[in-house]
Amino acid sequence: MLNQLYSEVEKNIKLKDYVIEATIDDRRVIFLSGEVDDWKHVVEIGQIAGKIKDIKGVVNRIKVKTDHPDLTDDGFALRLQQATKKGIIDHADIVIVGAGITGASIARELSKYNVKIIVVDKNPDISEGTTKANNGMVHSGYDSPTGSLKAQMNIKGNEMYTKWAEELDFALVRSGSFVAAFNEEDIHYLETYLKRGIANGVPGIEILDGESARAIAPNLHTDIKKALWTPTAAYVEPYTVVEALAENAIDNGAKFLLAAKVLNIVKVEDRVESVITEKGIIQTNCVINAAGVYADEIAEMVDDCFYTIHPRRGTLIIFDKSKQGINERFIGMPPKNFTKGGGPMQTPEGNPLWGPSAIEVQDKENVEVDQQDIDFIVEKAYHLIKGIDKSNIIAYFSGVRACTYKEDFIIEASEIVKGFIHVSGIQSPGLAGAPAIAQKVEEIYLNMNPKTKKRSDYNPYRKKTKRLRECSLKEKDDLIKQDPKQAHIICRCETVSEAEIVDSINGKIPATTLDAIKRRTRAGMGRCQGGFCGPRLVEILSRELGVEPTEVTQKGEGSEVVLRKSRK
């Protein structure tokens, strides 16, 4: 089995000179170590190992030579000591690590039961990781290998979104998606996708000729000969879904503890006992690992790490709403020369969105945007649609996907530690799969705790706050009559009132940073990108939180907006 790995590495001209050591344990987990020149090679070797059949996972400890040999964090011991000193701050039946789409979905699903849930996250707001920086697509499910957990979760999750959107009152636009073919080679790919889609169980999947595709989407490029059409693909604003899930979970008794990085997980014998966060210790019987790109590090804390997460960065470009309607649904292209990534689409709010790109990066916090990402996305989109160009761009940003070397989801109870559940490697189509992932975790939890009782007062419904910008004149008038601060517009691009901003700061999950306010209300998300409302938001946040303006941050400690007062 490992011979396969060695011979593949040997065959590769860039890799053959490296001394790589591989071992495999009785759970069939491959451990890689050694030194290479470049991060790309670390990933390539990991990917070769990941393709070996019937392995449980790949732990890739290969290092890059030029990296500093000692990466141990000097401050860590001190932080752990300080956190431990804070003592036990709470008890919970379940601690969920990670307040992104995965963690929030699980929290909401398990809040049906008579269990105390605490969701912890290192960031000062929900959705701060991969969730805030993906394209918001609920994939139809033709893309994942048949039989993979990804494919199962995707197909089931996609279907479940309709009910979710009804219960939780978030925008879901089910307008379908395309993959475009320009020539015979492309059409061959479409046929492969069609076959796989049918095998996976994608409803309504078919190949349309160019004319029929353009009848659905008139701005599709005239060079497009055929297109794969999947009518069930849908679009959401991911952070609004998480907001809805979190609010509903809170209504059903769950708690969110933010800006509380997990520093360690304590076991007693082979059972989870407590979670040490920066804010103190939480005693618990169950830890659910939904930590995204950090899931491997959380698993390491309980000595059950059988996968390494390698971050794959994706860049997205957002356009002005005045270009709404140019392309209402996703258009992809078959991969050529190993190009990956998304294509042009439109968010439910009506902003055209292009991307994401796909680039392997070493640093989990590397959310930079490079020229190559932008060029890749723009060039690809120009092939697909007409009527829009770079001058309409209002924002661009990157996120990192949490990929394992097996490139599949991991949703299972730990085989080694009692009370620990892995929900790891949740990358695309993780958003689409979220409802099904949560349900699978529910099953696992109930298996572990068969005596769990349902809450008698569980309420699956959550109502979103009525937004001024979505209201008719009559409705605006009514809202303003209820609260005059609704008439004070702070963000002119997105028509956001002072009342909406104050509500978000005092909401179920208080928005305490400029970025959090942006995700809750859209203030600062429009074409001027906070140019007009930025200083006003600093003033409102400082007033509502009772802090100095110099303490107001964009995204938590260290990101203060202004540094000092000019006069005493």
């Binding site: 005045s322 916090e365 004070h488 028509t495 200083p535 540094l563």
Partner: protein, 423 residues
């Protein structure tokens, strides 16, 4: 919902709107109202504490704040109706204005005429494509100006300025006064973006380095700006490999241009000029919808506030004539086109029968040139000329043409050229 009937609604109480309001009353328009979204009149002038304003209108060198106060005092003295903290949400083609504020709630105003005077906004980071991260500490020059001059807050200690627009250079000096270290001004073009006097008075006098043909290619830092990469650019404005340099700073100040605030204009269905990004206007500053006028930076970005107020005055005169029915709305327009070395021109069209004795034209050149001559005429036939010793893209050219001159050339579309003087 509160309903009002007005003769003239002026949207925006900055230098264009206030000048228009004062003129409108002088022209005899009775029910005039200014809607202003901020808590006082004056617009962006309220944060412009530097001087150089009012040389033409008041024959004095005033600060922006003083200039605004002159008009505010006049508005108060005349007793013009003003609604502050009031945001206009929508303008319809039949001249209904929907606005909102805390004290009235939603207001619907039926206007007989409207003057758009919403000013302009600053271009932001995505519009100039700087790669890298998205930390706190990247602000437009106008935002920095607001923090320092209005809020009394210092947004950073070490600044790199991208773009040599006027506000950027003025803020370079202002930040230096506040003890902020300005590491340099980087301009991607080979010439300065703002006025020459600002290069002298704001940069040279304070030894702030100006780097032409250079740009910021990347922003570093996850939480707060930690530095930028700058690089020289080639003639096609692409960064030259090997010239990259890391500069440590905690703030990036963008002064990369202004664009008219055109959302209300566009949503009302008014025709826009692709070059100015504002509405197409005629000699009376009237837009493509009869009775809706526009003035100041909402039309095109002017470099002097005096011009902004002048267009406000012109728009008010036009509105008065429109309201008393002395306009010919049927005559076809003569188009005013940008010819050689002219990038933008305002107005973009004229009607001969509605001309005043003299008409003002504002234009910008594409390239700097010395010893030039402005030629206005039909495509091949030049009639009217003016001489300019030097023309530069940042400095708007303002010319007044006599009615008789215009009539002579207006039998077909007019072109404005700026050509080398061959005498």
């Amino acid at each position: 919902m509160k309903r009002l009937d007005m003769d003239l609604v002026i949207i925006g109480g900055g230098p264009a709107g206030m000048a228009a309001a004062k003129q409108a009353v002088e022209e005899g328009i009775e029910k005039v109202i200014i809607l202003e979204r901020d808590s006082e009149l004056g617009g962006i002038l309220q944060q412009c504490i530097h001087d150089g304003f009012g040389l033409f209108i008041f024959n004095e060198r005033l600060t922006g704040v003083q200039y605004a106060q002159r008009y505010i005092d006049l508005i108060e003295k005349i007793g013009i109706f003003v609604k502050l903290d009031t945001m206009v949400l929508e303008i319809t083609q039949d001249k209904q204005v929907i606005a909102t504020n805390e004290y009235d709630g939603l207001i619907q105003i039926n206007a007989k005429a409207i003057i758009l005077a919403m000013g302009c906004r600053e271009k932001t980071r995505p519009q100039v494509f700087i790669n890298g991260t998205r930390p706190a500490g990247v602000y437009t020059a106008g935002v920095v100006q607001r923090y320092i001059n209005i809020e009394g807050l210092i947004p950073g200690e070490k600044a790199v300025i991208l773009g040599s627009g006027d506000i950027g250079m003025i803020m370079a000096r202002r930040m230096t006064f506040e003890g902020i270290e300005v590491k340099g001004v980087y301009e991607i073009m080979s010439t300065v973006g703002g006025l020459t006097r600002n290069v002298e008075q704001c940069l040279r006098d304070y030894d702030i380095p100006l780097h032409l043909s250079s740009t910021v290619t990347k922003i570093h830092g996850n939480k707060r700006v930690e530095g930028v990469t700058v690089a020289k650019v080639d003639s096609s404005l692409k960064p030259i490999e090997g010239t990259e340099e890391f500069i440590e700073c905690d703030m990036v100040v963008l002064s990369v241009g202004l664009i008219p605030e055109n959302e209300l204009t566009r949503n009302a269905g008014i025709e826009l000029d692709n070059l100015t990004k504002g509405p197409v206007v005629d000699e009376n500053m009237m837009t493509s919808i009869p009775g809706i006028f526009a003035a100041g930076n909402v039309v095109a970005v002017f470099d002097l506030v005096d011009y902004v107020s002048q267009t406000g005055i012109r728009a008010a005169k036009g509105a008065a004539k429109y309201l008393n029915g002395s306009f010919d709305l049927n005559e076809s327009y003569v188009l005013i086109n940008s010819g050689d070395n002219v990038s933008v021109i305002v107005p973009q069209k004229i009607r001969i029968s509605n001309l005043e004795n003299t008409e003002d034209f504002y234009l910008r050149v594409k390239q700097e040139n010395r010893k030039t001559r402005l030629i206005a005429g039909s495509e091949n036939n030049a009639h009217t000329t003016r001489k300019f010793s030097i023309v530069k893209p940042p400095e708007m050219i303002h010319i007044s043409l006599k009615r008789e001159e215009l009539i002579k050339i207006a039998y077909e579309d007019i072109y404005f050229h700026i050509r080398k003087d061959v005498e």
